[in-house]
């Protein structure tokens, strides 16, 4: 793996566009700045077209013979199917309001990472083949021929977009680069150009159940292990049932939550919370994945993975679905799931909290509730007893994850929970232009969180990290909270690189720390086995003994 330069080097971003016009600048593939090509076996597993062995650094990408036809036909189909694409192609005035909004542009200084330019990479081909002016005037109309170099360029820059939608917030016409990136990636996928990290996750999720490729038994093992950890630390057993028919609630969370630290601590938090409530819930080995990397390849693949959720809810006969902390999962759930399914699932009921009796009217058609909504409702009805001093070692700032922020609008629930589980004065917001709808991406969403891409990830995450740095210096913030499993996978390396003093945590982990069970053992550590405030010495003594 390529070595990532030091932060001091990377932070010196060169904001000077190249001397040559952008149509003459060819994409460069330097280790650390591109994602690997997908192996053919993954494509075969999901019947995706043109599986073949190729590498990004190859001169010849072994495109199918009629690749150009496929792309142009694919573009035409998508223009007919998506008004957004047609409109976004036609109405951009290149005012540049989006330019310094993109974290990849701010981190790399590469002009093709300005959303307006990224769109122009696609738009120039649209103009050349679909617009009279482009056909006649060519370059003067901003049009250019579709060549293999253009395909390589698309590959490079559509994989330096995390579909975070920050540009769309600032665009006077709401042009959404995320939508265009999805469609652009679909086009690439149609000629067999996919990235390894996305395709491997998708194929594993499709065939086994989750992105990490855990078999049903391994899935159970992992979660059972976390339940045992809970018992060790709190004295409370938090057993989980799997595929249990007739449970009231099906709980679905991204695999990141049960696969690795620090997501696993959030998972422990969920289990503690559910145990505390004696919730009648089950988890599924089939709908074992909340996340949806399929959505990063194509709308269709997104749907093929998403179908599992409702299908499994139907088979198990649950009343409604509870969803874990995850970003793009909730974009798909909020903006696509019902439409994918074509109707409101009749076999489910309007979600109702068995504890507070709250009917989640806002989810009456979708029939799925976000864990933060569920928890906030519990706290509001005074159903949870907290000892906030157990979070006294934590000084938190909250990272609004792109998708829940800009494709849903869940801003207050997590903040409400945070205020209730942390001691007074332990929560600090980052600067206003870097949170809420203006939040900065972790720099590695949409399946760009692979190791080979580390240098660009660190650049893309720089604006986020820099804001964390600010609150760390100013208030001594030592934890970065989020409600996104992908964030919990991507932010730790980002923090390690830019602000190593800051750890990443899910919000339900903090809930788990603070929840007071009547029959618990005395807690001296948090869920991460770190001593609580007031128990630091006891820990030390034990070790000394």
């Amino acid at each position: 793996m390529a070595k990532v330069p030091k932060p001091q080097e990377l932070a010196k971003v060169n904001y000077q566009p190249p001397a040559k016009g952008w149509m003459d600048v060819k994409p460069e593939f330097r280790p650390g700045t591109f994602v690997n090509a997908a192996q053919p076996k993954w494509l075969e597993m999901v019947n995706y077209p043109y599986p073949r062995a190729w590498a990004v650094t190859d001169e010849d990408w072994k495109l199918p013979e009629n690749w150009k036809e496929i792309i142009l036909q694919g573009m035409e189909d998508r223009l007919n199917r998506f008004r957004s694409l047609k409109l976004f192609f036609d109405i951009c005035v290149r005012c540049g309001a989006c330019a310094d909004k993109c974290h990849f542009f701010l981190g790399t200084g590469d002009p093709k990472n300005m959303p307006v330019m990224r769109a122009e990479l696609l738009r120039s081909v649209y103009k050349r083949y679909f617009k009279p002016a482009g056909k006649i005037l060519g370059e003067l109309a901003g049009a250019r021929d579709l060549t293999e170099d253009v395909i390589k360029e698309w590959f490079s820059y559509l994989h330096q977009c995390t579909e975070c939608r920050r540009c769309s917030v600032f665009c006077p016409y709401g042009i959404d680069m995320a939508d265009m990136t999805i469609l652009g990636r679909e086009l690439l996928s149609s000629i067999g150009i996919n990235i390894e990290w996305a395709m491997a996750s998708v194929a594993s999720c499709y065939t086994k159940g989750s992105h990490i490729g855990a078999t049903p038994q391994a899935f159970k093992d992992m979660i059972d292990f976390l339940a045992e950890e809970n018992e060790r630390i709190t004295g409370i057993a938090t057993p989980v049932t799997y595929n249990r028919k007739g449970a009231e609630i099906l709980f679905i969370t991204p695999s990141g939550d049960y696969f690795a630290d620090p997501g696993s601590y959030t998972m422990m938090g969920y289990l503690l919370l559910f145990k505390y409530l004696d919730l009648d819930y089950t988890m599924s080995t089939y709908a074992a994945e909340g996340g949806n990397f399929g959505y990063f390849i194509s709308h269709e693949m997104g749907k093929r993975l998403n179908m599992k959720m409702y299908e499994e809810a139907k088979r198990l006969g649950v009343k409604w679905i509870l969803g874990g902390e995850c970003g793009h999962m909730w974009r798909v759930c909020n903006q696509y799931m019902g439409t994918f399914y074509g109707e409101s699932p009749k076999f489910l009921e309007v979600p109702k909290s068995p504890i507070t009796g709250t009917v989640f009217e806002h989810a009456r058609a979708h029939k799925m509730v976000h864990i933060s909504e569920f928890t906030a409702d519990l706290i509001h009805h005074n159903k949870l007893k907290f000892d906030v001093s157990r979070n006294a070692h934590i000084k938190l700032t909250f990272h609004d994850s792109c998708n829940p922020a800009r494709a849903m609008g869940i801003y207050e629930e997590p903040r409400y929970i945070i205020r209730n589980v942390l001691p007074e004065g332990h929560f600090f917001e980052m600067p206003p232009n870097t949170i809420r709808e203006k939040t900065f991406c972790c720099g590695a969403g949409t399946a760009l969180n692979s190791d080979e891409f580390m240098e660009t990830r660190m650049k893309g995450g720089f604006p986020r990290a820099n804001a964390v740095r600010y609150v760390h210096e100013k208030y001594g913030v030592n934890h970065l909270g989020c409600i996104c499993a992908l964030d919990r996978a991507t932010l730790p390396p980002l923090m390690q690189y830019w602000v190593p003093e800051v750890d990443v945590t899910g919000i339900t982990e903090l809930v788990g720390n603070a929840l007071v069970f009547p029959d618990e053992i005395e807690r001296t550590t948090d869920l991460r086995d770190r001593p609580l405030v007031g128990f630091e010495e006891a820990e030390g003594e034990e070790e000394a003994e």
Partner: protein, 353 residues
């Protein structure tokens, strides 16, 4: 200066100057009918036809997914307060969508949100650099000044197309000329229009990134409208033409009894021709952001997916891995792990008896 920039800057500049020369010398060569009647009619025809065609073209593609960009707290738990900005930036109902669109179209709400980000040296941070973000309203100001000034200038021109002149047009003129400076009175909108255009042009040239990405299609409308504004101002303040004759021409056009009175200066035909070109060019250009913004699916839809299912007209069934596919593959292991299954392992034959 790159060749790319040179081409995209100078070709439209030459084009606009060429169009001006065409009209100027054309009028002198007694082609007044071409520039005073034929061109305006043709351009209006092209404008309406192209405008409608384009909208129909857009409308023919469906909106498969409801994808509003949400910039405020969504509608969720009843006790979570949604203030007015939340409702306008993350609408849940049709009325809130109307509010959001009105703000977007009339007040350029999203541009108003604009920020500027800059990397600055900051020795206190270990990495030595700090990104600074601040609210940046200049683009908003330039855009809003340009659009409203242009609108008012167009409305003022209704004086030429109404007889007697409509009352609101006269009142508009009074307000617009309230500074009572110069003879004839200077209209503020004219000044604002030129100032805003110059700013919009300036920023494209001054900002290296904007210069890098700007195309001929960005400079051409700027030059064109600048040409219209400057010829108009010249006609009003410096080289006045026979205004009664101009009115006669204009009334002839709107009443479909075109006449070309004598005594109109060639400069007027330059002005009118540039306007004609603008109308004809409009539907085929980025200027279609005018109707386009109304159709933008990230702005004109309510974020109510969880309450009402949005129907995708081309939704089609997809192949997916079923639960039984999983169980069939892992049945034994699942049973061993104590996970319930649909079909137990085939029982030994004796048991059945």
């Amino acid at each position: 200066m790159t060749d790319f920039f040179k081409m995209h800057f100078f070709v439209p500049l030459a084009a606009v100057l060429g169009l001006m020369a065409m009209a100027y010398f054309g009028a002198q060569a007694h082609l007044e009918w071409v520039f005073g009647v034929a061109a305006p009619y043709l351009s209006i025809l092209l404008f309406f036809e192209g405008f409608l065609y384009k909208i129909v073209q857009w409308a023919r593609s469906p909106v498969p997914f409801r994808i509003p960009t949400t910039c405020g707290q969504n509608y969720s738990l009843p006790w979570i307060e949604r203030k007015l900005p939340d409702k306008l930036d993350n609408p849940n109902k049709f009325s809130e969508v109307v509010g959001r669109m009105a703000l977007e179209v009339l007040a350029f709400r999203s541009l108003f949100r604009n920020t500027r980000t800059e990397l600055r040296k900051h020795p206190d941070f270990p990495e030595g650099q700090k990104l600074v973000h601040w609210s940046y309203k200049w683009l908003w100001l330039g855009a809003i000044a340009f659009h409203y000034a242009f609108l008012l200038v167009i409305l003022r021109h209704l004086r030429f197309f109404s007889e007697p002149v409509w009352g609101f047009v006269q009142r508009l003129e009074t307000v617009d000329g309230f500074v009572q400076f110069y003879v004839p009175t200077v209209y503020l909108t004219g000044v604002a229009l030129v100032a805003a255009l110059l700013y919009l042009l300036y920023r494209r040239l001054a900002n290296p990134y904007l210069r890098y990405l700007s195309l001929a299609a960005d400079y051409f409308p700027l030059f064109l409208i600048l040409g219209i504004a400057l010829t108009g101002i010249t006609l009003r303040y410096f080289f006045r033409t026979d205004i009664t004759a101009v009115k006669q021409l204009a009334m002839g056009l709107v009443t479909l009894h075109p006449v070309v009175p004598a005594g109109i200066s060639p400069l007027f035909y330059v002005h009118l021709f540039l306007v004609s070109v603008l109308f004809a060019y409009f539907p085929f250009s980025k200027l279609m952001h005018l109707p386009g913004v109304f159709l933008s699916p990230t702005r004109n839809l309510a974020n109510n997916n969880r309450q009402r299912v949005h129907i995708n007209p081309w939704n089609y069934p997809v192949k997916f891995h079923t639960y039984m596919d999983q169980e069939n593959e892992y049945r034994e292991a699942m049973i061993e792990a104590g996970i319930p299954v649909e079909i137990p392992l085939a029982a030994p034959a004796e048991e059945e008896k």
